[in-house]
């Protein structure tokens, strides 16, 4: 009996150790140091307790407002577009127009590329006076800014969103496709017999069936988008001005550029709070009725 009690703990131990090491300790580290002045360039250890100063400096010393607005814009627009296009692709795949496994393998390829590599790829595509996108857009008489797509504050953020859409829409497509093919065929046939149109099927059959899966991946992808750093770092470094600066990029600047660990810790806490509020509201609206 004693062994039966110990064995589960033994098997859970590696996961708990990982959780402690990768989640709990860093959170504790951030919470503790958010209240201290600690800049690694002046001292290897925290120097003194400064209360809420770091939290005030998050809003005073960093372009927090611009970062927050950009992060929200990037996250919500990215999620909506990726879901919509991914769902459309999933529906097309489910209709057997493009049935081959090869196509499904090809479509997932962008997701397998590291975000930094995607960043460099699009950096060259967006290059003014020579990049493929710049050239293509000029051919179709699209008003490309003279500064280039990444040089204009009007087009820089949409350009980053586009790169993210290119990479992650296939992920939505594949996951939603798996959910769509679980829809009972007899249900679809019955609806066809009853004269339901394709759009009626989508609204009344597909969406309710895939809702549990869709809810979860929307939540996960939102959190990924909220933490976007790689694309911003490679493509624009938060510029021009602060038009593409995200919360994660600002955090990187404070923690890994300026080595201001205290301020970066406070910034982390603020970011965690924001994302938890948003996800909390989302879970309350979309997932509270689910049985886990």
């Amino acid at each position: 009996m004693i062994t039966k009690k110990r064995t589960p703990w033994l098997f859970m131990a590696p996961s708990m150790l990982l959780l402690l090491g990768l989640v709990v300790y860093p959170l504790y580290f951030a919470w503790k140091n958010a209240f201290y002045y600690w800049n690694l360039t002046t001292s290897p250890k925290p120097l003194q307790f400064i209360g809420l100063e770091n939290f005030k400096n998050v809003f005073k010393l960093t372009p927090f407002k611009a970062s927050f607005v950009n992060t929200i814009a990037l996250s919500f627009s990215g999620i909506f577009i990726e879901f919509f296009i991914g769902f459309t692709i999933a529906l097309i795949l489910s209709r057997d127009y493009l049935k081959t496994r090869l196509f499904r393998a090809i479509i997932i390829l962008p997701t397998t590329i590291a975000p930094v590599v995607v960043g460099f790829l699009f950096l060259y595509l967006y290059f003014p006076n020579g990049g493929a996108f710049d050239w293509l857009l000029k051919i179709i008489k699209f008003p490309v800014p003279a500064e280039g797509l990444l040089g204009s504050s009007k087009t820089a953020l949409p350009s980053i969103v586009f790169a993210d859409i290119w990479q992650w829409t296939p992920f939505f497509a594949i996951v939603l496709y798996a959910a769509i093919i679980s829809v009972p065929i007899d249900l679809l046939e019955a609806s066809e017999v009853d004269g339901a149109s394709f759009f009626q099927q989508i609204r009344n059959i597909y969406i309710p069936v895939i809702k549990p899966v869709a809810s979860v991946i929307v939540m996960l992808q939102f959190m990924r988008l909220f933490n976007t750093f790689d694309l911003v770092y490679v493509l624009t470094k938060g510029g021009p001005q602060t038009s593409t600066r995200t919360l994660s990029y600002s955090l990187y600047v404070e923690g890994l550029n300026n080595y201001n660990i205290g301020l970066a810790s406070a910034f982390t806490i603020v970011m965690i709070t924001i994302v938890n509020v948003i996800i909390g509201i989302y879970v309350f609206i979309f997932l509270r009725k689910r049985e886990w």
């Binding site: 062994t3 110990r6 064995t7 033994l10 002045y37 800049n39 690694l40 360039t41 002046t42 290897p44 100063e53 400096n57 005073k60 010393l61 372009p63 003014p128 006076n129 800014p145 003279a146 500064e147 280039g148 990444l150 040089g151 504050s153 624009t236 470094k237 938060g238 510029g239 021009p240 001005q241 602060t242 600047v253 890994l256 550029n257 300026n258 080595y259 201001n260």
Partner: protein, 497 residues
């Protein structure tokens, strides 16, 4: 019941044996790994200094240096493993290694503005002892360096902290064929009140939009990328107009009260915006290389920039080795000067420093001394693999060498630019510089994007005050050092005896 108990007991014993076996194997693995770690650490302590690690950055000097490094190995028997990094990556890698006290490199390339942070935190060693011990060594010959170069980039608080391997000044490059075609008087080769920043801006505006030899010209090109590159170009203009970062630095008793919103800085910002209006729009995103090499494309009338571009623009692209379309059609001129304000030329560039974590300091010093020596610098200048390249000298013997002047005729002008420079006034190397530069670059980029100059510079001043105050630099209660040319000259003299 007895049988069941026996069965249960043996099952329990078996499970216990399994658990013990797993625990034992994990424990042995940990012990083994630790032993490996310990023996690795022991090996590190008894470091093999026959091979040393050098961190370089992808500036032109690196291309030449790597070609001549085998000569160092042949001469000394010391192998050099060189790792070349981008500007951002170098700064991040060095800071991370220093902060974690992890031995990474034995010799590091350090930018001029980082020396305050690196030395005050004990990340790099003073070279005073090494220099004094090598005072009679002709390979070192400190007095051969221009004092302004050593003062600007290699000395901090009365210490020699590095040896210049590629110092830069800033000057003007202009298309003399375009100037002749448009009837514009050529800029002078020496600074004077008649060649003012207003005249420079007006000249750029005059060229902008004109078609010369079938090509539409831009008046100039600027560096606009934030956060770092824009600061390197802008601060030359600002310093030339008399703008300073702080109330008192680097001479006297230091007072880091920021003066970002001074009249001189506002005037500089206005001029920079005017230059941007006469430049390609995409230059708001240009870094050092993009702006410099745009001049080589042939549609820029003139620009002011770091002296390596005096030779880099002879190539059609960075280090391509293929001649550009402007070879023979451009000349070097003096920087504009603000009337009534003493001229300040920015001196920057690269030096080799000695990390405090290096386990091979003696051999590292040998490499630093060798790479910065007159003979090696000349060898680097004669490497022709990438087209004519590398004339970033800080030594008089190189700048005045007839063989080198024949290849780089602008060397006498470059010597004057370097001799009149003061890098510490233009980009003060105080320990918080990297953080301040990040803020400054962002604000300047906002100004280029249309933000109100007065308000943005006032905001910059406010952010600087908060940053400096929060990091105990305002008010400054630390020890100041009266960092004058005279003190640097005295230091050089004392280390040369």
């Amino acid at each position: 019941m007895v049988l069941l108990q026996t069965g249960e007991e043996s099952a329990m014993k078996s499970k216990n044996r399994n658990v013990r076996a797993v625990a034992a194997s994990v424990a042995f693995s940990l012990i083994g790994a630790t032993s490996l770690g310990i023996s690795n650490a022991s090996l590190a302590i008894a470091a093999d200094c026959s091979t040393i690690k050098l961190a370089t950055v992808g500036d032109p000097y690196e291309y030449s240096l790597k070609e001549v490094l085998p000569d160092f190995t042949a001469q000394t028997g010391i192998k050099v493993v060189e790792e070349n990094l981008s500007y951002d990556a170098l700064q991040a890698r060095l800071s991370a290694a220093f902060v974690s006290k992890a031995p990474d490199f034995d010799v590091t390339t350090t930018d001029a503005m980082w020396i305050g942070q690196y030395y005050d935190n004990g990340w790099i060693d003073s070279l005073n002892t090494y220099a004094k011990a090598s005072a009679k060594d002709p390979e070192l010959n400190l007095k051969d360096f221009l004092p302004s170069v050593l003062h600007s980039i290699s000395t901090w608080r009365g210490n020699l902290v590095g040896l210049p391997v590629a110092p830069y000044a800033q000057g003007v490059m202009y298309r003399d064929d375009v100037f002749k075609k448009l009837g514009i008087a050529a800029p002078p080769t020496t600074s004077g009140d008649s060649w003012s920043w207003d005249k420079y801006v007006a000249t750029a505006q005059k060229i902008n939009g004109k078609v010369v030899n079938g090509k539409k010209m831009f008046g100039t090109v600027i560096v606009g990328q934030q956060p770092v590159p824009i600061v390197h170009m802008y601060t030359q203009l600002a310093a030339s107009k008399g703008a300073m970062w702080f109330k008192q630095f680097p001479t006297g008793t230091w007072d880091f009260t920021p003066t970002m919103n001074s009249a001189a800085n506002q005037s500089a910002a206005k001029a920079y915006v005017s230059l941007y209006k006469a430049a390609p729009k995409e230059s708001i995103n240009y870094n050092w290389f993009a702006a410099g090499m745009r001049f080589a494309k042939g549609d820029i009338g003139m620009m002011y920039w770091w002296s390596p571009y005096f030779y880099l623009v002879q190539n059609n692209d960075y280090m391509s080795g293929k001649p550009s379309s402007i070879v023979g059609n451009y000349k070097i001129a003096a920087l504009p000067k603000e009337p009534g304000v003493a001229q300040t030329t920015s001196i920057g560039g690269w030096q080799l420093t000695l990390p405090s974590t290096s386990a091979c300091k003696d051999n590292a010093w040998k490499l630093i001394k060798w790479a910065a020596s007159s003979a090696t610098q000349k060898k680097m200048a004669l490497v022709t693999k990438y087209g004519t390249q590398f004339s970033d000298f800080g030594r008089k013997s190189n700048l005045e060498d007839p063989a080198l002047v024949k290849i780089y005729p602008y060397l006498p002008q470059l010597e004057k630019m370097l001799a009149s420079g003061n890098g510490k006034n233009v980009r003060p190397p105080m320990p918080l510089y990297p953080a301040l530069e990040g803020v400054y670059g962002l604000q300047l980029n906002k100004i280029l994007g249309g933000a109100d100059i007065k308000k943005t510079l006032a905001d910059t001043n406010s952010i600087f005050s908060n940053l400096l105050g929060g990091n105990f630099y305002m008010p400054y209660k630390g020890k100041s050092y009266d960092d004058t040319f005279a003190n640097t000259t005295a230091l050089i003299d004392s280390l040369s005896q």
